[in-house]
């Protein structure tokens, strides 16, 4: 089965890669872009895959947090599917950018040139939330895998699950805010957070059901949840119709009506019937995302769906299948618990039904018999303290943001930064929880690990370090650490004495203007980039232009006055032409002034 899936994955991936390569080369003109929203297939794919990425955490972490029992194999499958779909989801917003190599400017960290992203933008929240979600999902998956070797890691699974529970909802909420916070009439919806999360959960469960289908078993609990989400989503679509008068019929048919065939026993109980239902749900939800992102699709002014769009879809599906099957094959039995299930599994029921499953001692100190002081309890130590530290860090971050240069002139409201608070808090808290577990559980027992595993761990650590380093590199990017403090002097000379020189005869180009006038022109026209003293305005040029030539008297002398005048008047490379703003005599004066500056600089 794995080999067959790999074949299918390759079959989809290879043409998909062509489409991906073409669209990166060609830019946003390659795929269908909606005329009014400027967005298209990549963003629909992003929303779709990020929705699928919620299934794992939802099933694994939330079920764990709410004490719903689930076997290890299903949980691991779900977690792995989260990681794979997340990795695919992040490709799309990046490739959709017009200028790819500037993507790091979106991160809300001041770079070496003291530039700061616009933290009010939902895209910045998106970037951070998804990053944090990826890191935490990886940690969660890693702890689950490592719990086989280091039994102590089991203890931190539950605190991590409680951290991931709100985070998973938060991430998709922020994705929904990309739409809900905008002025596009089709995206106006304060209810989008609920809407998106129900859609994400629905598609995610369908994906996990598919995976279990390929593994050869089914879980009735998941199927139940699938049906329930389909009803809730239909109700939300109705409300969406009432609020906006738009309705996606194809999504309703594929994800609303067709899944109800589940109630026909002959379909439910055959393997073909079940997989058809799951795939129909996935298809319907993909159509819904496409409809949402490009509301004008199909109209004359709207986008037209071409081979690149189909190729991108094929790429995402193929890459997911390949990544999932290879990791699944590579990990093999490490992903399975003691008992391996086949056929039909129904291990549990929802905790909300009043069967009173056993209380978990680890996180529930609310036992009336042995009362624990709130601040000394286990819960406080394992979860509340790291969260408290996390929230403090997040608060400091917000204050630091408000102190950034950008926000001198722009009002930064609390609502602009709140979406970043929880991801930051969760990241810090998760690092504290895992760091503690590493110090207490992993390091003392490190000697007992097999050599092979130890090597793998080292490789992973080195890879992480390299990634971190390259991120720092993007922020440094050859820049200086401090912005320029140069002030452009408006009155560099004593005017009383030079009155006669100032308004010289500027018309004849052979003549030169006086030095004070040249200095004034230099300060007003040239100093923005070249600096008042000729030593560059670092912040400006590094951010907006490649660095100009250094003022060097030997170089200036070797080029000669005439050719420098020519550069000033006609421009060269990134130097703008000043021919229609300066006269020849002014340019000549500027060259003289440059020579003087170069001499002074020595």
């Amino acid at each position: 089965m794995l080999n067959f899936l790999r074949f299918i994955g390759l079959l989809l991936l290879l043409p998909g890669l062509v489409a991906l390569g073409y669209s990166v080369y060609q830019g946003p003109a390659a795929w269908a872009v909606d005329s009014s929203t400027f967005w298209g297939t990549p963003i629909s794919l992003f929303v779709f895959w990020i929705g699928l990425a919620h299934a794992g955490t939802l099933l694994s972490a939330i079920f764990l947090a709410l004490d719903i029992k689930m076997d290890k194999r299903t949980a691991m499958m779900a977690e792995l599917s989260t990681l794979c779909s997340l990795a695919i989801a992040v490709i799309f917003p990046l490739m959709h950018l017009g200028v790819l190599d500037r993507f790091y400017m979106v991160l809300p960290l001041a770079d070496a040139r003291a530039n700061f992203s616009n933290i009010r933008s939902p895209l910045v929240w998106d970037f951070c939330c998804i990053g944090v979600y990826g890191i935490l999902s990886l940690l969660f998956f890693g702890t689950h895998l490592g719990a086989k070797t280091f039994s102590g890691l089991k203890k931190i699974r539950k605190p991590l699950a409680w951290l991931l529970f709100p985070l998973v909802l938060w991430v998709h909420t922020v994705v929904s805010l990309d739409f809900a916070a905008s002025f596009v009439p089709e995206w106006a919806g304060a209810f989008f957070p609920v809407y998106f999360i129900v859609g994400a959960v629905y598609s995610g469960i369908a994906l996990v059901c598919c995976i279990l289908w390929f593994e050869g078993y089914r879980m009735r609990l998941l199927e139940k949840l699938l049906m329930i989400s389909s009803w809730i989503l239909c109700a939300i679509w109705l409300w969406n119709f009432a609020a906006q008068r738009t309705f996606c019929t194809s999504a309703f048919i594929f994800a609303g009506l067709l899944p109800q065939l589940y109630w026909v026993e002959s379909i439910r109980e055959t393997r073909i019937g079940r997989i058809c239902i799951y795939l129909s749900v996935l298809l319907g939800l993909w159509l819904e995302r496409l409809f949402l992102v490009s509301p004008n699709l199909g109209t004359t002014a709207g986008a037209s769906f071409g081979w690149v769009d189909l190729g991108l879809i094929a790429f995402s599906a193929g890459a997911f299948i390949l990544a999932f099957t290879s990791i699944r094959g590579g990990l093999g039995s490490a992903m399975e618990g003691e008992s391996t299930f086949f056929g039909e599994v129904d291990s549990t029921d929802m905790a909300t039904s009043a069967d009173g499953s056993e209380e978990d001692e680890a996180l529930d100190p609310a036992d009336e018999k042995n009362y624990v002081e709130p601040w000394a309890s286990h819960e406080t130590r394992t979860l509340r303290f790291p969260l408290f530290v996390g929230f403090s860090v997040a608060t400091f971050f917000c204050i630091w943001c408000a102190a950034q240069l950008n926000f001198d002139n722009i009002e930064l409201s609390l609502a602009n930064v709140i979406p970043l608070v929880y991801p930051i808090a969760a990241l810090v808290a998760a690092f504290i929880v895992c760091g503690k577990a590493y110090v207490n559980e992993v390091r003392p027992n490190f000697g007992s690990v097999q050599l092979r595993h130890r090597k793998v761990m080292h490789v992973v650590a080195v890879l992480l370090l390299i990634m971190f380093g390259s991120l720092l590199g993007a922020f440094y990017a050859g820049g200086k650490s401090a912005p320029s403090n140069q002030e452009v002097a408006a009155q560099p000379y004593n005017f009383e004495n030079t009155e006669g020189d100032l308004i010289g005869d500027a018309d004849s180009s052979a003549q030169e203007i006086s030095a004070p006038r040249a200095a004034l022109i230099w300060n007003s026209r040239c100093a923005t980039c070249h600096g008042t003293d000729g030593k560059f305005n670092e912040k400006f040029i590094r951010e907006y232009y490649p660095v100009p030539q250094k003022l060097d008297s030997a170089r200036i002398d070797s080029i000669g006055v005439d050719s420098l005048v020519n550069v000033i008047l006609n421009g060269r490379a990134n130097m703008n032409a000043y021919g229609n703003r300066l006269s020849g005599s002014e340019a000549r004066g500027l060259v003289r002034y440059m020579q003087q500056l170069a001499k002074e600089a020595k």
């Binding site: 003109a29 700061f116 002025f183 001198d408 990017a477 005017f495």
Partner: protein, 296 residues
């Protein structure tokens, strides 16, 4: 990443090295293409403007009030804008051509022209020119992730092309869809000439829109400040005497450019006693470019 940044820095000629002289096409032929495209755009213009009454634009609401004490920059006394007189305008489209040549606006390929996807900063809507309204409370600026869309202290909603990553969120969030995206590498396709050296050519993948002829204002400001320094006066620059390319080109003087905060400005004088309008979707965002029709 650092390497990529480095390589990017080494690339030269991004801002139109020699553009305008390099290609073999003659200037007159290029101008002919520009005119044809404008004619096509005007003839194909669709969409109406749903106008509502607005008061005279004043200082920008909220966001830029902080340009006062404490901030290094002085409090702004300028807010530039325009008023388009709908009683005079006959929709000839001369403003579009003037704008295109002034700002080096790129032509588009035939298939994009067929879709009505022009790069023009001015569109014809309901028989009148429509461009970015430079909203005081601009929705595009709120959602730009990198801060490439930002306000100048003079009330111009400006674009920093070198900081734009092309996420196109601003374009989606503009209620009036006044922003244009550079889908093509116009320089490579020979769709653009550097007709005006004051305005940089835009690279592929960035957003652009009406800049209220920012370069003209900047030139005038520098000239004014240099002269003020020479004269030793402390006068405030109000941008008097500057006109945008479209205002200059309008044969009926239907487009008036000026400074909303300057009572001497031709704009304020022209708008006095007139009823001002703005498109319904923009009216709440404090637009600086408005329409005039009839007496108040």
């Amino acid at each position: 990443m650092a390497l990529v940044g480095l390589l990017q820095g080494c690339k030269k000629g991004q801002l139109g090295d020699g553009a305008g002289t390099g290609s073999g096409e003659r200037l007159s032929a290029f101008m002919k293409r520009c005119e044809d495209e404008v004619r096509l755009a005007v003839s194909e213009a669709h969409g109406r403007m749903d106008l509502v009454k607005v008061p005279m634009p004043k200082e920008m609401k909220g966001s830029l009030a902080g340009f006062s004490a404490g901030s290094a920059r002085e409090a702004s006394v300028n807010r530039f804008g325009m008023a388009i007189d709908l009683d005079l305008c006959n929709g000839c489209g001369k403003c579009i051509l003037a704008c295109n040549t002034e700002n080096n606006v790129a032509l588009v390929t035939d298939e994009e022209a067929a879709r009505g996807r022009f790069m023009h900063w001015i569109d014809m809507r309901g028989g009148a020119p429509f461009m970015c309204a430079h909203c005081g409370d601009a929705p595009c600026e709120k959602v730009c992730p990198t801060g490439a869309a930002n306000h100048t202290p003079d009330g111009i909603s400006a674009m920093m092309y070198k900081r734009c990553t092309g996420s196109r969120f601003c374009g989606a969030n503009c209620p009036a869809k006044a922003r244009k995206f550079n889908f093509n590498d116009a320089q490579e396709l020979g769709l653009v000439r550097k007709l005006n050296y004051d305005v940089p050519l835009r690279e592929k993948g960035v957003m652009e829109k009406c800049s209220l002829c920012l370069h003209r204002l900047q030139n005038d400001r520098m000239r004014f400040k240099t002269e003020a320094a020479i004269a030793g006066s402390n006068a405030e620059w109000r941008g008097r005497g500057v006109k945008t390319a479209c205002a200059e080109a309008c044969p009926r003087n239907a487009i008036v450019f000026g400074n909303w905060l300057d009572p001497e400005s031709p704009l304020v004088k022209a708008a006095q006693g007139r009823q001002l309008y703005a498109p319904r979707e923009l009216a709440e965002h404090d637009p600086a470019v408005v329409f005039m029709m009839g007496k108040r």
